[in-house]
């Protein structure tokens, strides 16, 4: 089953208290544990390249345009705040993976562009990463995938919409 430590403890307590639907709780913890494990795994794979998941997303967003993007646009596409983008760009700039260029037509704005090194790293990591992620769910059959997708969707519907909206 492989739950994280904290969830084992929470689950045991839920059982002790005879909460309704302990099985559902367990399933929730299983889902969260899997996602956390994937995230940790992902972070460990990116770290050797000087990347975090956040930095990686920016790098790849930049890699898919030729003329560069404004921090503004990066924030929107990455689903984080502009302030967070500033921090991530600081890191990427320190590693010489991106450069901040002044925007010719708007003196408030910047254009972020990959350096040659940045492009190289982006290509390399994107490929490697894609193969890794594919592998994660690669041993599921087509029907298993459909099942899983449908089940996850069904659960997603139960979430509180008010908080979900924040991610947009």
């Amino acid at each position: 089953m492989n739950l994280e430590q904290k969830y084992e403890a929470l689950l045991a307590e839920a059982q002790r208290r005879q909460l309704p639907d302990v099985a559902g709780i367990q399933l929730c913890f299983q889902t969260l544990s899997l996602a956390n494990a994937i995230d940790r795994n992902c972070a460990a794979r990116l770290a050797p390249h000087g990347l975090s998941e956040g930095r990686f997303v920016l790098l790849f967003l930049l890699n898919s345009t030729n003329e560069g993007l404004a921090p503004n646009a990066l924030a929107k596409q990455a689903g984080v705040t502009r302030a967070t983008v500033t921090g991530l760009l600081d890191g990427l700039e320190r590693e010489s993976l991106i450069e901040r260029l002044a925007d010719a037509s708007d003196r408030r704005a910047l254009r972020i562009r990959l350096t040659r090194k940045g492009k190289k790293v982006a290509e390399k990591v994107f490929d490697q990463h894609g193969r890794w992620i594919s592998g994660l769910f690669g041993n599921l059959s087509v029907s298993e995938r459909e099942q899983l997708a449908a089940l996850l969707d069904k659960v997603t519907g139960n979430l509180d919409v008010t908080t979900e909206g924040k991610s947009l």
Copy 2:
């Protein structure tokens, strides 16, 4: 489908590049998006009580013992480092939910105990939280749950064990 912004972007790029098994990648992102949504939802529910998920776990661990626990033990059971526990305890102490007591037999050690307020909050939040979590997966039938659990397990097996070990 409801993927997070960043995953939409990554997925589009994966398609553009015709990576193998885009469907698997999509499934991965769906899983991660669901987990993140649950986490955000959880955080939003705990925040009004002055709690984060980390603080909540400690609170509940403390609530299930009468004599209190050492930070040491809390770290092990919560699956985080002692340093992190120190920080979480600082927050809980600021909110007067716990108190740090000297250990009689070992002058290096502490015994962390819930205050009356802490006990009250713990009980209240634990109940509320349990019901919420149950609800999340509550609309799945028994066979759907079994399916989901089996599928998640199957995916978990694909993860890199070396990095997973960190959580223990």
